[in-house]
Subunit: 338 residues, 2 copies
Amino acid sequence: MRGTVLYGSKDIRFEEVPEPKIEKMTDAIIRLAVSCVCGSDLWPYRGIQSVTEPTPMGHEYCGYVEEVGSTVKSVKPGQFVVGSFAMSDNTCPHCRLGYQSSCQQREWVSRAQAPYMRVALADGTLVPTADLPSKGMLPSLLAASDVLGTGWFAADAANVKKGSTVVVVGDGAVGLLAVLSAKQMGAERIIAMSRHEARQKLAREFGATDIVAERSDAGIARIKELTNGIGADSVLECVGTQEAMQQAIQSARPGGFVSYVGVPHGVELDGQQTFFSHVHLHGGPAPVRRYLPALIDLIVKDKIQPGRVFDLDIPLEQVAEGYAAMDERRAIKALLRP
Amino acid sequence: MRGTVLYGSKDIRFEEVPEPKIEKMTDAIIRLAVSCVCGSDLWPYRGIQSVTEPTPMGHEYCGYVEEVGSTVKSVKPGQFVVGSFAMSDNTCPHCRLGYQSSCQQREWVSRAQAPYMRVALADGTLVPTADLPSKGMLPSLLAASDVLGTGWFAADAANVKKGSTVVVVGDGAVGLLAVLSAKQMGAERIIAMSRHEARQKLAREFGATDIVAERSDAGIARIKELTNGIGADSVLECVGTQEAMQQAIQSARPGGFVSYVGVPHGVELDGQQTFFSHVHLHGGPAPVRRYLPALIDLIVKDKIQPGRVFDLDIPLEQVAEGYAAMDERRAIKALLRP
């Protein structure tokens, strides 16, 4: 079969790769219904994260179970499943406390931009839907696998609740779905930071009440102005840069909550600054598995449409165009159809 | 009157200073019952924090109201009061949300190692006791003013609750009272990190179930060993150095809580490390005012004896010896009697 491999900066190839096989009794093989390109794929694509060898790409997935290992009990061939980018046993102490993305047996998914993939720890990782989903529901179920689960974690980790004043830093797919998540959790005011018209529009449709186009000190000043000089209860940092993190910390009120869900690149926190800011900080790779059953339920009941972040829909073999479109911000997120 | 002034590294003088006066209608003047030397006073005393001019010292206090400004309503002359090192109006948005040490009108106390002092924002800052306390109770009430309130915040900010496994990094007065606080909040296991015999003993008396003398990587390994490889639910960092912070972050389980309550000196956090550690981080200058009524109540009812951290009891005029004894770790904490 052919799959996606990154060779170096801006060098994505769709080429012959080995077909996945059951390697352990706990594995499953799935046929992907849809896959996509993630904002985090752009770090190595842009050369910000070095690529030392040809690297198979893709970690967002949903699809049909083709085959399972001999000990797999909770899913069976023919079922439709969604899993997280972090494969987890869902039984270790970290998983039981809701941190499946720090599972003691954790493995990262890395070959999902392909027609078939192997899922390790299938019993812990995969969540089946009750029925086979309609075609129209596939993009939203795919979003649950990472961007929605990550946006949801951003809102949860920043303690968003009924009545909260929320700021979302970052207007990528995760930031936009963090807006949707904050809305679902009852936030009263959701301020999206964005200077991109199409993204501002989608943010408003997902629940943003205010848009702030300013950045850095001007952006912080604008947030203070919008919150009567107090700062926000919750700030969701969905980028992963030093600038975004500074924006987030300084936009929160003392005692407020800052979450950060994009892998930090070059982020250093000054101890005294975070100390006197009085903020709560929590983040990390989103424990998407914790939220999957609830998110799938919301999607299947059509209460949320996270799949709307996909504004480019192309055949899998055109994956290189998906990367390029996202890199150049021509697309928010590229859906790939095997 | 004579008060305490720091002139430079290791140069503490007890010398003539102006008597405090009511400067604003919201002020009060109190006669100190007792005062003390704080671990944080050692930063400038040791020259780690520069001293550019003669600096009046002391920020822990309790005593008798002598005089109040014309608008002060909640305390009156003759009453015994306890206040926090952060003076606050207790009515601004940050105060109402429990972060009085980030009050919009905040002022820092800085002249408490003296017989009399001025307290700003008296209505918001001072909490009177129902009756005049016994002499034996004074050290514990003084502790409530900072070290107990700070240890309590450490436990609260690190989400300590019934059944928690807790690690306390730092065996100064704050660390020891963080142990006491964790015990009060129902922690099941409290691991105190200390290599000092007298402090280990007091930690055990305050509720520590285990003592770890190892530091750095060996200390982290020992915590992992004591927690079945999982890490602690809550880690209370009561020092303020890079080593202590690293110890704390690496001792917590994924999803665990790290609090930090000592002003960080030279602490830098690596974004990727905190991200993948999956910890919650919260700290800052303790909002002691939030806890004062409850802490005073526990002390007056003799349910806790935080004053036991004072193992040196000297006349105020010998304040220089108090600093020296704490600097050389001959004393945990020096009580000063005006």
